[in-house]
């Protein structure tokens, strides 16, 4: 969770690899992705990677939890589960059985801004995967017989992820408080009382509204080329007719005028922890051009030993056992900038909060140094080289970027844009984002024994 932004945007660059390896000027290529768009509007992105004779095939829909109708929270994620329940010609579970029989792995995930389905299989089975995905893009067949047991499954998923875990409950309350009006404040899995009422008709309505080739992106990473993929895509996805898709328009956050504080005390908690979220720009909503500077800032503050917070609070002052910061810029609307810390075993939480507040104050007053900025940029760019060392990572990076308003060019130029960040930009971005009025502070505490 904490490392997600970094990890995701680090899956970006070959450019830096070339600048490291060869001395000459950096070529424009990064992952060398190839892309084309079918007549029905479906975009295909291919990231060749010939290490092993396998491919990761992903379908991304530009729809997520933040696009749900009011009162239907959880329907995007519920539909994701129901997409495995068969089509007009495939019995429920048949797609999954076939993937397994072919030696493949598969899964799906839902976020606020996107829903994605993927399989990793031997490259020779790619077209089979494409045909099955194209089939369920258009021909989903749902009956109560299969939908109602699955509704129990998502309720069990919620119990497992949230209700059995006080930390997850606090996190849910913090996001609900951070976003006063925007749907990002509603949990992706849904509110329990609304999940109980989700129906087959709700799922089908959501499916028919959003699942269409012109609202989807296919990303294929692995032992294949665009030239090979194109005829397969035309034979499979190309046969699915396009439909009109609504504009993704969510309500805007109002001006926020007071900091919020959420405290969860639980008998389950023995080790307290502290965290804070600030509203922030995203790559897509970035009028001040602050997103890249905020990535550098998060790297300077850090979530590990070279970071300012770990070094200051954990190593030097010994007031915390962990401390760090992170930034999530992959969002169609607002991003978030977060801080966290935890006291030494048996110690109180207050000194940790005071120390992080002091670190933020010092940052806002004194700013960051040139040396910090240069070191952070180097680490981010080196991490981007290593991000190529993966099949799934690059596919995920392109899918998340293209469903949240970014472009292939944005992904490709990431190391360059990181490289262009200045001390002044980092300091300006910090002052613009780290304002108490747009923040929520959360405390996870043991229940006092009375």
């Amino acid at each position: 969770m904490i490392r997600s932004t970094l990890a995701r945007r680090l899956c970006l660059s070959a450019l830096f690899a070339f600048t490291l390896v060869g001395a000459g000027p950096a070529p424009a290529a990064v992952f060398n992705p190839e892309t084309f768009t079918l007549d029905n509007g479906l975009q295909v992105v291919v990231v060749p990677n010939h290490r092993a004779p396998v491919v990761t095939h992903m379908v991304w829909y530009r729809v997520g939890a933040a696009d749900e109708p009011l009162g239907n929270s959880g329907i995007a994620h519920f539909l994701e589960h129901l997409m495995f329940k068969g089509t007009e010609t495939m019995p429920p579970g048949a797609f999954s059985s076939e993937v397994a029989r072919l030696g493949g792995n598969e899964n799906a995930f839902t976020a606020q801004d996107y829903t994605a389905y993927f399989q990793t299989v031997a490259a020779e089975h790619l077209e089979t995967m494409m045909r099955f995905e194209a089939d369920r893009m258009a021909n989903l067949a749902l009956t109560d017989e299969h939908v109602l047991p699955e509704r129990q499954v998502i309720l069990e998923e919620r119990r497992q992820r949230v209700e059995n875990d006080p930390g997850a409950q606090l996190s849910e309350m913090m996001r609900a408080s951070l976003f006063l009006h925007h749907p990002y404040g509603t949990p992706i899995i849904g509110w329990e009382h609304e999940m109980r009422g989700l129906t087959t008709a709700d799922a089908l309505a959501f499916y028919e509204k959003w699942y269409t080739p012109n609202n989807a992106i296919v990303v294929i990473s692995g032992d294949v080329t665009a030239e090979e993929v194109r005829p397969m895509a035309e034979r499979t996805y190309g046969q699915v007719p396009r439909r009109a898709v609504p504009e993704r328009k969510r309500v805007e956050e109002p001006a926020q005028t007071a900091p919020r504080r959420v405290v969860l005390e639980s008998a389950q908690v023995q080790q307290p922890s502290w965290s804070r979220l600030y509203l922030a720009p995203s790559y897509n909503r970035d009028p001040e051009n602050a997103a890249y500077a905020l990535e550098v800032l998060a790297e300077i503050l850090g979530d590990g030993p070279p970071g300012r917070l770990y070094r200051g609070l954990v190593v030097e002052d010994k007031v915390a056992t962990s401390a760090g910061a992170y930034y999530s810029a992959d969002a169609f609307d607002l991003g978030t900038f977060g801080f966290y810390g935890s006291p030494l075993p048996g110690a109180e939480i207050e000194p940790v909060e005071a120390a992080i507040d002091a670190a933020i104050d010092r940052l806002l007053k004194e700013g960051v140094t040139e040396a910090e900025v240069e070191a952070a940029k180097g680490r981010l760019q080196a991490g981007a080289v290593k991000a190529r060392d993966s099949l799934f990572g690059p596919a995920r990076t392109f899918g998340a970027a293209l469903t949240t308003g970014s472009t292939i060019e944005d992904v490709e130029s990431w190391p360059e844009r990181i490289g262009a960040v200045t001390v002044e930009q980092v300091n300006e971005a910090a002052r613009a984002v780290l304002t108490p009025e747009t923040s929520v502070t959360g405390l996870l505490l043991p229940k006092p024994t009375s």
């Binding site: 579970g93 048949a94 030696g103 069990e156 075993p345």
Partner: protein, 455 residues
């Protein structure tokens, strides 16, 4: 592109076809040309060259894990794993960390029950410096008081943060009940009181006694040749002592067969962990057991337990089983999580499926599909330098031999339906399951109480 024509046919036809495994190509050989590299000084590593990216990954394993932690000092191996990158040679903790960061080297260690593993990943241009940091970490760790106390507090904080987590409780209780008088019954991460007892001398002793050339295995993958690797092996690992101090961990049979233990916790969902004796990795029936486990509960959406517990009845989000072969015991384990009112039903369904597999074994079609999965999915392990290096180490730790990559397909193919049925009948027994439930389950009658120190 090798699109097999018969697979490009209609989907329904594929569904009903049994799909013989012989139709699968086995691409591992082409994908994984593993080379044995022996340094001038006699240190062996398995190498997969891959010059696609300027990246090198090293994985290492010592045959010495948490099971050999001294009595009363559980967590020693784990403490060592957290401290090797906290200062070594002339570099104090922060200087060492800064150097790792400046060179963009990823370095990490992990303590398992039977082995101590590590991984290092670097860009090619920093290769020699990165290998040198690995050398320092393994052969000259400082264990200065500041970092030792800091890491100790982090281990204690992590233990505290998990102490009441239902999944963690189930895990602790299961292992404690199953191995009451054996080091496997302890948590590799230790307990607060054992972490508190660990001294700097213990840390140095662990490194001096457990890290040696005769119990080390190495996997190297990426942008490096055999000729380049040979001398680097000597420079990096040559300073290790030739032989580790022998430790003896006794073979052990799982206890608590047939027991049902309930740990009361006020949570809406009960977490269940269950298991019985399994097979060790060198057992000739291991491949048959892997196939049976895949069909019973190991295989994603298509396993019998997934179908019966989740798909048909909506009793759980996650349900699964797995073989857990240890060096001195074999286990077959599983987990499920179900709301308190229906957890009894989940357990009943699991026991019934356990018995059905015991009595009837898999069908011919299930076995064929399981074989194509286990064979076809193997190359999915080789999609990054790091994951490939880890497989190279795992295969060595399990003593499978460098020809394993070529033999594996035939070993799986060769399991007959009769063999699978025999192994299912001999291995599985619902009466042997030790079951731990953490939560507020309704309608369950425990057979005994939880072991003392586990809650």
């Amino acid at each position: 592109m090798r699109v097999q024509k018969f697979l490009a046919a209609g989907a329904i036809a594929l569904m009903t076809a049994a799909g013989g495994a012989s139709a699968q190509s086995n691409p591992v050989e082409r994908a994984i040309p593993v080379e044995r590299v022996v340094s001038p000084g006699g240190i062996e590593a398995w190498l997969v060259e891959d010059h696609g990216n300027p990246i090198i990954s090293v994985a290492l394993g010592f045959r010495a894990g948490a099971a050999s932690d001294p009595e009363g000092k559980a967590g020693l191996a784990e403490m060592v794993s957290g401290l090797l990158d906290e200062g070594a040679g002339d570099l104090e903790s922060q200087a060492f960390q800064q150097r790792l960061a400046d060179l963009a080297v990823d370095l990490g260690f992990d303590a398992g029950r039977d082995s101590f593993t590590g991984s290092m990943r670097t860009l090619t241009e920093n290769r020699d410096a990165a290998f040198d940091l690995l050398r320092l970490a393994l052969t000259e760790p400082r264990f200065d008081p500041g970092p030792v106390e800091r890491i100790r507090s982090q281990v204690l904080a992590r233990l505290a943060s998990r102490v009441n987590d239902p999944t963690e409780i189930a895990d602790r209780v299961w292992w404690r009940a199953t191995f009451p008088d054996h080091p496997y019954g302890r948590q590799p991460s230790g307990r607060p009181e054992t972490i508190g007892r660990i001294t700097t001398e213990d840390l140095h002793n662990f490194v001096d006694q457990r890290f040696a050339r005769d119990n080390l295995v190495l996997g190297v993958v990426g942008d490096i040749t055999a000729a380049e690797l040979g001398p680097l092996l000597d420079e990096t690992f040559g300073a290790l002592p030739p032989a580790a101090t022998p430790v003896s961990v006794e073979p052990v049979t799982p206890s608590a067969a047939g027991e049902l233990i309930v740990v009361d916790r006020t949570v809406p969902q009960s977490v269940v962990m269950f298991g019985q004796r399994g097979l060790q990795r060198n057992d000739p029936d291991f491949y048959a057991a892997s196939l049976v486990n895949h069909i019973l509960g190991g295989g994603g959406f298509s396993s019998r337990l997934m179908q019966e517990v989740r798909v048909k009845r909506g009793l759980a989000y996650s349900i699964g089983t797995y073989l857990y072969p240890l060096d001195h015991a074999g286990l077959l384990m599983g987990h499920v999580a179900t709301q308190n009112t229906r957890v009894g039903e989940s357990i009943d369904v699991i026991r019934a499926e356990w018995r059905r597999m015991q009595e009837e074994g898999p069908t011919a079609e299930e076995l064929a599909d399981a074989k194509t999965y286990l064979i076809g999915s193997y190359p999915l392990n080789f999609t990054s330098t790091g994951s490939t290096a880890q497989v190279l180490v795992a295969v060595q730790l399990e003593n499978l031999g460098i020809d394993y990559f070529n033999r594996r397909t035939a070993l799986i193919e060769g399991v007959t339906l009769d063999e699978a049925k025999r192994v299912a009948g001999e291995l599985l027994d619902p009466a042997n399951l030790a079951t731990i439930v953490v939560g507020a389950p309704e309608g369950l009658t425990p057979t005994r109480s939880a072991p003392d120190d586990a809650s």
